[in-house]
Amino acid sequence: MKWVAARSGFDEVFDQRGHCRAHYSPLISVLEAFTKEDVERRERLQQLSLRSQGITFTVYGEKEGIERIFPFDFVPRIIPASEWKTIQDGLVQRITTLNLFLLDIYQEQQCLKDRIVPPELVLSRKEYKRELLEVVPPRKIFTHVVGTDIIRDDTGEYLVLEDNCRCPSGVSYVLENRTVLSRVFPEFFGSYPVRPIKDYPTLLLDTLRFVAPRPGQNPVVVVLSPGIHNSAYFEHSFLAREMGVPLVEGRDLLVEGNRVFMRRTHGKRQVDVIYRRIDDDFLDPLAFRRDSMLGVPGLLNVYREGNVALANAPGAGVADDKSVYAFMPRLIKYYLGEEPLLPQVPTYLGFRRDDFRYIGEHLDELVVKTTGDAGGYGMLMGPFASAREREAYLGAMRKNPGNYIAQPLVELSTHPTHIDGQFEPRRVDLRPFILYGDRIRVLPGGLTRVALRASSYVVNSSQGGGSKDTWVLAPRDP
């Protein structure tokens, strides 16, 4: 088996002298014992398994939306217990802050009055829902499910890249990757205390039940999906199945007497908690986008009345705005009086005049993103763009500077990945999932996304990325 050395950045497995890091050495020994043919045979089994189970996602922009397998690389990413502790503590601190921030801006707006964050920056965002001012969600929780993207810089330090407070996806792949890997390469698991993750659906259901507005027994929980053509449909269906709750579409729900019901073959039934995987704008055509066919007319009023819980709460999207991100260290200090446990990437804001000038002058060093978009759409990778592309992008930025942020290009860490019969370093990130119910829980694992092209920094599945099983190791007994 051939291992290609990493050329730049921090490699998860090999140190700068090419020596294997201690926590990877048992895995590498096991892998070395396989012949090339063995590995290829196992990889074919893995493909078959993914295909036959229909573990796919849909790519937009192609006709009819093509179903693709989310590419899976079998070399697992391993995170030692001590490193995980930092990540976990940092995430709990962050999610606590995000939730306090949301409670604040939808009520007192103290952080705006104290000028911790410029008010115009928050209040001008389309994700900020003015119609939800003074509406407190059940149990005061806005962000029931968060997926935070984390990268490692060239020193190996973990940095938060962004928080996803709307409908973060990918957790189904986290669970399925573990299943596939344990079937195809059971030998890997022998020498590692890998923390289990399969109870995620149970924890998710507990989280959702915790916020049910009707007191008492057995709240009715549903997963609301835009339907089969959505790129994450597999996940919606997977989570509904794993939790044992109905998967509904907008047309399955109706509002009557300020309550939400689902239409069934023999009459209707009241719904208490909706784990919605539909963006705010499409939730309710009476409140937001009128042309939405996906939502439920009148739903927002029911929510406002406190008769249904929505997870995540509408309006939560403003917290993961890329320009609010820039203020997170200040917000953590403001609400918790603590220093941030996880550092983040320096961010220049288009709406600040000085920053904008800096961005214009250093465009060839920066990654520029629009604040509203996700999934790697609409970004400019300055160092790799042509002068013409940069000029055109800058032209677009001038029309709406507040819509852009810029960050220096962080050299992502790499991880050996099986490509064409050998192990080559490929850039990775990490998306842990955090649940906020009776307390905040971080799933010990996460989605390690990998950019399968050698030159690529973009790990999104919509942009040709794959994923790895992610192992968080249990602490050894003292």
Partner: protein, 319 residues
């Protein structure tokens, strides 16, 4: 008590799976019979294909290939097996079954979905090549047929007997009795003609092929022995209470599922429609056949089944 949308999708999953199974079986049987009799009676071989096209409508009426039997047969084979545009091709039905199942995966088990998905994927693979020669065709169809049966097995063995299962079985049983009736309605006029125009061995091959097409040959022999008398075959396929593809058994099965879906206190409209039909089928017999009333009776069955489908769609799916 399930979502109307989910009930609808499960009903159609059942219908399309059953339709694909029927088409696969009939294609294999027709292909075999027409190959065997080709040299003896080309007209009869052609009639077999023409019947099949009437049972699964959707072909263009006039085709140039129709002049040569080989071309006609090949076009029929392709159309009903892997043509993605033909609304009754096996591929089309399997795709619809899978699309419906995929839209309600959470209501199915992994075993059911994986079997269905693999069967679909395998056939999809063939749509990208042509089914080159008859052996390739037979092996592809047999394998699809096995895949469908293993999916049905997964349904039997893994699904909870809840409302979702009832709607799936309702779709399956309604499609089955409907298609059996269509097959009989299509085949009988020629078979019941007072003077068979062909020699006897060939005449019996046709009746045998009809039984095989309804996977009822072995079951028939258990009741009547190896001797094929048209009136017995007809009696068996219309009124036998035990063979799963007789019209009587089929209507009783539909009635049974509709009764169980209905709320306990009162029968629903579709349950009453099919209940009457099942009763008629239980009390009819030889007389109807002797009096030459089979064809009008089959028309009546088809009309009632159509009404039942409309009534249950309105009642349960809100469509």
């Amino acid at each position: 008590m399930i979502l109307s949308r989910v009930a609808d999708a499960l009903y159609w999953t059942g219908r399309y799976l059953e339709r694909a199974e029927n088409a696969a079986r009939l294609l294999l049987v027709t292909e075999e019979l027409s190959t065997e009799i080709l040299g003896l009676d080309e007209e009869l071989a052609r009639a077999e294909w023409t019947d099949l096209r009437a049972i699964f409508p959707g072909f263009e009426p006039e085709e140039r290939s129709a002049r040569h039997l080989a071309g006609f047969a090949a076009a029929s084979l392709h159309g009903l097996s892997i043509d993605p545009a033909h609304p009754y091709s096996i591929f089309f039905s399997l795709k619809k079954a899978r699309d419906n199942a995929r839209s309600v995966r959470e209501a199915l088990t992994v075993e059911v979905f994986v079997n269905l998905n693999e069967t679909y994927r395998e056939l999809e693979h063939y749509t990208r090549r042509q089914l080159a020669d008859p052996p390739t065709f037979r092996s592809a169809m047999s394998s699809t047929h096995r895949g469908i049966l293993s999916t049905v097995g997964a349904i039997e063995h893994t699904l909870a007997r809840d409302a979702g299962w009832l709607f799936l079985k309702l779709g399956e049983s309604l499609e089955r009795v409907f298609r059996t009736t269509v097959i009989l309605r299509t085949k009988l006029p020629a078979l019941l003609a007072p003077e068979p125009k062909i020699d006897l061995p060939l005449f019996y091959s046709q009746w045998r092929s009809l039984l095989r097409g309804l996977s009822s040959l072995e079951n028939y022999r258990k009741v009547f022995g190896a001797r094929l008398e048209p009136i017995d075959v007809l009696q068996f396929l219309l009124f036998d209470p035990h063979t799963p593809r007789s019209v009587r058994y089929g209507a009783s099965a539909v009635k049974d599922y509709l009764d169980r879906i209905s709320s306990a206190s009162e029968l629903s409209v579709p349950a009453r429609l099919v209940g009457k039909l099942a009763a008629e089928l239980s009390y009819q017999g030889h007389d109807l056949i002797r009096e030459g009333q089979s064809l009008p009776f089959l028309d009546h069955v088809l009309a009632e089944l159509g009404r039942a489908h409309d009534a249950l769609s309105t009642l349960y799916f809100g469509t």
